[in-house]
């Protein structure tokens, strides 16, 4: 019977905490949960809030997470923290935005190409102007 378990707090962008812990408190969606070693396997969502970690021979450490998932096994606890603020509506809005942008581009396909052509012509024209200016300067 161990008195400690291994705790990992990871997000997609980095590993936030990795080490032994005696006890943690995490803000699960159903209410705060405290976890000691040899906890029954559990999987739940967590809200944004503070995870309190008691590491052996150390003071409590508080780590902020903006939501994510909590996985509990008897000797290993993993918190998969979100890096982005999540929510059904928020995700939906982002999806719509990504879709809209794509549709816009499909619609403006011809104008996009014309725009590129116009830009190329503009660059050429400015280059010509610059050349002319240089020639004039030399003459004077």
């Amino acid at each position: 019977m161990g008195t400690i378990f291994h705790l990992d707090i990871v997000s997609a962008e980095e590993s936030i905490y990795s080490g032994p812990a005696e006890f943690i408190v995490a803000p699960a969606v159903m209410g705060e949960v405290g976890i000691y070693p040899q906890h029954t396997p559990m999987l739940t969502r967590i809200k944004s809030g503070v995870v309190r970690v008691k590491a052996p021979l150390q003071d409590d450490e508080e780590i902020y997470v903006s939501g994510g998932m909590l996985e509990v096994q008897p000797d290993v606890v993993t918190i998969l923290a979100d890096t982005a603020v999540r929510g059904q509506d928020l995700d939906e809005a982002k999806a719509l935005e990504a879709k809209r942008k794509a549709e816009e581009i499909m619609k403006n396909k011809t104008s996009e190409i014309e725009y590129a052509r116009a830009q190329a012509e503009l660059i050429e024209a400015t280059a010509q102007l610059a050349a002319i200016r240089k020639l004039r300067k030399r003459r004077h």
């Binding site: 590993s15 993993t78 990504a98």
Partner: protein, 294 residues
């Protein structure tokens, strides 16, 4: 032979170009280190979530997530193409787009419809020129892959899969092997394959009695969340790898450009000196000839 003035101007302009390519090479080198760091930092999350997903898929739950179920008939394929936003990175984007194009041709020949989600400017331009239906896109990611920006575009694809609009989803990106080598790869994202669901420490676990998690509040939403995050993590990892590939490809390309510029300068300098000497010799012989005539 070109006049010495012309050659001198040419040398000057090449030197300027060389300065630019050398600066870009150094910028890419420092960015590459950071991009590689980011790629490595993203790994633990991917591994952890994979273990959870793998265990969940094997545990006896009455609910089986649609991402895990293989579909027999494939009518429509969704692909995610990861490219860079900027050019000047050698054949990086061309390689991955060529790979995608080959597959699109094969699928097209089999009568499957293709829709694409573009991450990065270069792929978007290519796909819209090609006339493939683009369903979602993200551009302007900057130097760091950003989960926040990816969520929307990936969700469009996942929703399309859940609604039976797609029967398969693939992702194309450049896998980072080392600084000199990046390979364009295609991976199947959905339905999740054994390769993605394989458990690393399978033996150790199966020795114990099979167990399942307690799901709070319920199994379905929790499993849905895990699966969506898993796919997002896979896409994120692909983007991170592609970014590291982009920077190292750019560094190599710019180094080659600087070297080529150096060679060109050497050659031109030789020609310039020769023409200068020829001019001096000519002048001297004219003076000598003139003196002799007098």
């Amino acid at each position: 032979m070109a006049s010495s003035r012309e050659i001198r101007n040419k040398i000057k302009s090449i030197k300027n170009t060389q300065k630019i390519t050398r600066a870009m090479e150094m910028v890419a080198a420092s960015k590459m280190r950071k991009a590689q760091d980011r790629m490595k930092k993203a790994r633990p999350y991917g591994e952890k979530i994979r273990n959870v997903a793998a265990h969940m898929s094997k545990a006896s739950v009455e609910y089986r997530h649609p991402f895990l179920i293989d579909r027999n008939s494939v009518k429509r394929v969704g692909i995610i193409v990861v490219t860079s936003d900027k050019g000047l990175c050698g054949g990086l984007n061309t390689n991955v787009l060529r790979r995608a194009l080959n597959e699109i041709r094969v699928w097209g020949a089999e009568g499957e419809q293709i829709e694409v989600c573009c991450i990065g400017n270069k792929g978007l331009g290519f796909m819209s020129r090609l006339g493939v239906q683009v369903i979602s896109q993200v551009t302007g990611l900057g130097d760091a892959p950003n989960m926040e920006k990816l969520i929307g575009a990936v969700k469009v694809v996942l929703d399309a899969y859940t609604d039976d609009h797609f029967d398969r989803v693939y992702i194309f990106y450049n896998r980072f092997v080392n600084t000199m080598k990046q390979i364009p790869v295609m991976e199947q994202l959905l339905p999740l394959t054994d390769e993605h669901m394989g458990d690393d420490n399978n033996e150790a676990k199966s020795a114990r009695a099979p167990w399942d998690y307690i799901y709070e509040p319920e199994a379905k939403p929790v499993i849905d969340d895990i699966m969506i995050r898993y796919i997002e993590a896979l896409v994120y990892q692909a983007v991170a790898e592609n970014m590291a590939s982009e920077q190292s490809a750019r560094m190599v390309a710019m180094k080659a450009a600087s070297d080529n510029a150096g060679n060109l300068i050497d050659e031109l300098t030789l020609i310039y000196n020769k023409s200068r000497q020829a001019a001096i010799t000519k002048e001297l012989s004219e003076i000598v000839g003139g003196a002799a005539a007098v």
